[in-house]
Subunit: 253 residues, 2 copies
């Protein structure tokens, strides 16, 4: 039962109570919570109030609702660790690309869909790639899956002058992927820079990545530089935050 006179909104009281029972283990991961109509009796409030409380818990990512089935404590999802070694030259030499290399090493069956096209660089692209605005860039838009589940979106842009006549302009870039083809063409990679952020997904991303409410996405913008400092590629990645963790390591110098 809730206290209608405490000043604390009733739906918050309900949410706090449920959250406490979940963290205390009364409802374990995967367990079904009582139905909304049962909670109406339990707490003595209207159904909307119950639904508002559940909305808070959903937004926190600790419960999921399934239409026709019930409300469940979200089970922990296994986290993939992506470490910067995924970009090592050794890995490239042996494999088809960063994502496929990574997934295969972890026992997943990876697959990806690729679309390739060309377009003039917009302001943001030209800034990061240090080319003229409007200069033609090669765009590779990829959707990566592990065991059929979409786990990563990535869209790469490269100045077309570096990809002309290479397999980078094909759907299948061949062994070692884009970076291997760049090196074949005489553009040895010198440095990588990654900018990492997080935000809530757009509706499109949420449906493509099959994201539940309350799950943010990690955004990574990676720029690959040639040994002379020329930007070769800008890669914008979107990862579901409940399935990924990024790892970086470096010497203290």
């Amino acid at each position: 039962m809730v206290d209608k006179t405490s000043g604390v909104p009733m739906h918050r009281q309900v949410a706090t109570d449920l959250r406490g029972r979940i963290t205390a283990g009364e409802y374990a991961p995967g367990d079904k919570l009582p139905s909304e109509r049962a909670m109406i009796e339990t707490y003595g409030v209207s159904r909307l109030t119950i639904r508002e409380a559940l909305g808070l818990l959903r937004a926190e990512g600790i419960v999921v609702t399934e239409h026709g089935r019930g409300v469940f404590v979200r089970p922990p999802t296994s986290i993939q660790r992506l470490s910067r070694s995924r970009l090592s030259r050794v890995a490239r030499a042996e494999d088809k690309g960063a994502f496929l290399a990574d997934a295969a090493s972890k026992g997943f069956t990876p697959s990806s869909s690729v679309r390739v096209w060309f377009e003039p660089a917009d302001a943001r692209t030209s800034g990061h790639l240090r080319i003229q605005s409007g200069e033609e860039v090669t765009v590779r838009d990829r959707v990566m899956r592990a065991d059929g589940l979409v786990v990563q979106l990535a869209i790469s842009r490269l100045p077309r002058k570096f990809t002309c006549g290479t397999a980078i302009e094909q759907v299948d870039t061949g062994p070692g992927g884009t970076y291997a083809r760049l090196e074949d063409a005489g553009h040895a990679i010198g440095d990588f820079v990654e900018h990492v952020g997080a935000r809530m997904p757009t509706p499109g991303e949420a449906s493509t990545l099959q994201l539940d409410q309350g799950i943010p996405v990690i955004t990574v913008m990676r720029v690959a530089y040639r040994e002379d400092g020329t930007p070769l590629e800008m890669n914008n990645m979107v990862l579901p935050a409940n399935r990924y963790e990024l790892s970086y390591e470096w010497p203290a110098e």
Copy 2:
């Protein structure tokens, strides 16, 4: 007006319409949207339906509601970039610590509150620091502010055997911060590893960081290793995702 027969829930139709008008620039950042009661007339639906639509946009982080004032298009927040150079030995030698160094270089007035205590290592801590479970660790819990606004939470744990008799066990660690004191004590830092993730904030974090709805937090777990590979410190940081971006760079090797 919405189409009540299309099968698409009305609150989604309203949300899609508003989202379109916002991205089209009809409502600019900072602009006030029409009041909920005005939208009831515009769309011909009940107030709850309007509020559900606004709830979707809030969860996406594109609008904010202010009690008694209205609903506003969220203005873009300026992003702080944290790069790994913040941990350079040079910066340590000149300054009070990573955060203060960083904030000062960007024109903010930084401040921080620190609490220090000692406790036995739990399973997770002992695993990362490679010590016996229950061994005593020094805990430094910090709340960092820039111009009075809380911008970062950080909680560090170090095996106490490395901090005994150093200023690390004091609130003020002195010039260069924790890492400088470790080096003074003969523990030269060899490597850093950071694990980066994102999630929705807990209610406590949301209020401490004054986070609006729809803003995730970036989590960083940093482990500092001595030159011989011994873990010296585990630092768990929580950053508001709308104010921070992390940058990493490394040679292609």
